[in-house]
């Protein structure tokens, strides 16, 4: 077995500057959950199929389970914990509740982060845009219909602001 290498990383997570020394063989997901205790981001398949671990890295939705920690250096990361402030939920979170798009909830943080990335890129997506963009997030409860409605609702309420 090879000798463990440690890596100094500096990054920004949910607006907060983070500086830490970590083993070079961990993923962004391990880093968030185990080193920073940000457990809102979930691990489903661990292979980039289910999207439960989706976070926004440098403005783009990524599967955090496949991001080696060496690539997190200097990155700006937004996780589900960074969406709401202490008093108020984010309009996308509100929309998911209103539309009833949450059942067991395990996939929800990933879906919400993908929704955020989509609406940042395209504030008024069509139903087809939504389906294509969210294809990398799997939900075994809702049948997706209510999730699509939630995204449309979120787009509307973000437009009003």
């Amino acid at each position: 077995m090879s000798e463990q290498i440690y890596y100094d990383i500096e990054c920004e997570i949910n607006g907060e500057k983070i500086k830490k020394q970590v083993p070079s063989n961990i993923t962004l997901l391990n880093f968030l959950r185990e080193y920073l205790k940000l457990t809102g981001t979930k691990e489903g398949c661990g292979k980039g199929e289910c999207g439960a671990c989706t976070v926004i890295m440098n403005g783009k939705a990524v599967n955090s389970c496949l991001v080696p920690i060496t690539q997190v250096n200097k990155a700006k990361i937004l996780t589900i914990e960074g969406l709401s402030n202490d008093e108020q939920l984010h309009p996308i979170q509100e929309a998911y509740i209103k539309a009833g798009a949450v059942q067991c909830g395990f996939c929800t943080p990933g879906f919400i982060m993908s929704t955020k990335a989509l609406l940042d890129e395209k504030p008024e997506p069509t139903r087809e845009d939504i389906k294509k963009y969210l294809a990398g997030n799997l939900c075994r409860c809702t049948g997706y219909e209510k999730i699509f409605e939630a995204v449309e609702l979120a787009a509307k309420s973000l437009k009003k602001k």
Binding site: A61, V67, P68, S114, A135, G136
Partner: protein, 283 residues
């Protein structure tokens, strides 16, 4: 995952480390969408990952004389949204847009898709159809250009030598070329191809002047349907000829039964995809 990862900042550092490393299983790591999964599943046992993700010169897309250069670290999302790619290489754009889903496209690179050399790699069929050249850079600072079909030599096998790296791809620009891509998988999105196909044609005075047909997931590497291509040259672009060419193409592939599909079905798919794509580019 017990892996050593070393990050490099320049292409020179990358090839030097690749060349001098005494370890046997050394991989360049870019987006990690294939390698991280394979390492987790113990399909590969890497002694070292050379993290090349921050080498800027590998991230460019630019016109070079009559070619488009696409750096090996360009992501599928970047290809999908790039104006030059959209203008000259729509089949490549379409294939990139159908790789995995958003999160994978944002991280996975074209260099990685080629280096992984899966017969199901969606960007490979367009690269074959466009006669792309692979630009390799080595530890002596030399560059060489290799046709894509000579670089990929089998499932998960390439001709990459120790101390070499894929710098990028060179795609010849021809404004009279019409091209298209199609893939069919078990589901519509986030899916691995049962068959994927890209083709490029030049039709002048309603006759085929140039044809290239590249089909993937139907053999150990991408297969160029040479007989079908030759059959069409000089012939009229009509339904009868297109139908015959699609039939010939099915005789050139070598599909197998595997977890994703059956040989018989892959033949049927190839027939209808080649036909539909030819009709589409002749419209």
């Amino acid at each position: 995952m017990d892996i050593k990862i070393e990050k490099v900042n320049t292409i020179k550092e990358a090839v030097k480390l690749h060349f001098t490393s005494k370890e046997k299983n050394v991989f360049y790591l870019a987006g990690g969408t294939d390698l991280m999964v394979q390492a987790k599943d113990n399909l590969i046992t890497p002694a070292l990952f050379i993290d090349i993700s921050e080498i800027k010169e590998l991230k460019q897309i630019k016109k070079e004389k009559n070619n488009l250069f696409i750096g090996s670290l360009v992501t599928h999302s970047e290809i999908e949204n790039n104006k030059l790619c959209q203008k000259y290489f729509p089949a490549l754009v379409q294939s990139a847009s159908e790789v995995g889903a958003t999160q994978i496209k944002n991280r996975g690179t074209i260099g990685g898709n080629v280096a992984n050399a899966s017969p199901a790699a969606d960007t490979l069929s367009p690269l074959y159809a466009y006669n792309a050249l692979v630009i390799l850079y080595n530890h002596q600072g030399k560059e060489k250009k290799v046709p894509i079909n000579e670089f990929v030599i089998g499932p998960k096998k390439t001709n990459l030598k120790k101390g070499e790296i894929i710098k990028g791809f060179l795609l010849p620009i021809d404004t009279s070329l019409k091209s298209a891509f199609k893939k069919v998988g078990p589901r519509k999105l986030l899916t691995i191809s049962k068959v994927h196909c890209a083709l490029a044609v030049i039709v002048k005075k309603e006759k085929f002047e140039y044809v290239s047909i590249a089909i993937g997931s139907v053999g150990p590497t991408i297969i160029r349907a040479k007989k079908a291509e030759e059959y069409l040259i000089g012939k009229e672009a009509n339904n009868v000829n297109i139908n015959e060419a699609a039939k010939i193409a099915t005789s050139e592939i070598k599909p197998i039964d595997d977890i994703r599909s059956e040989a018989e079905y892959r033949k049927d798919l190839t027939y209808s995809m080649v036909k539909d794509l030819l009709l589409e580019v002749c419209k």
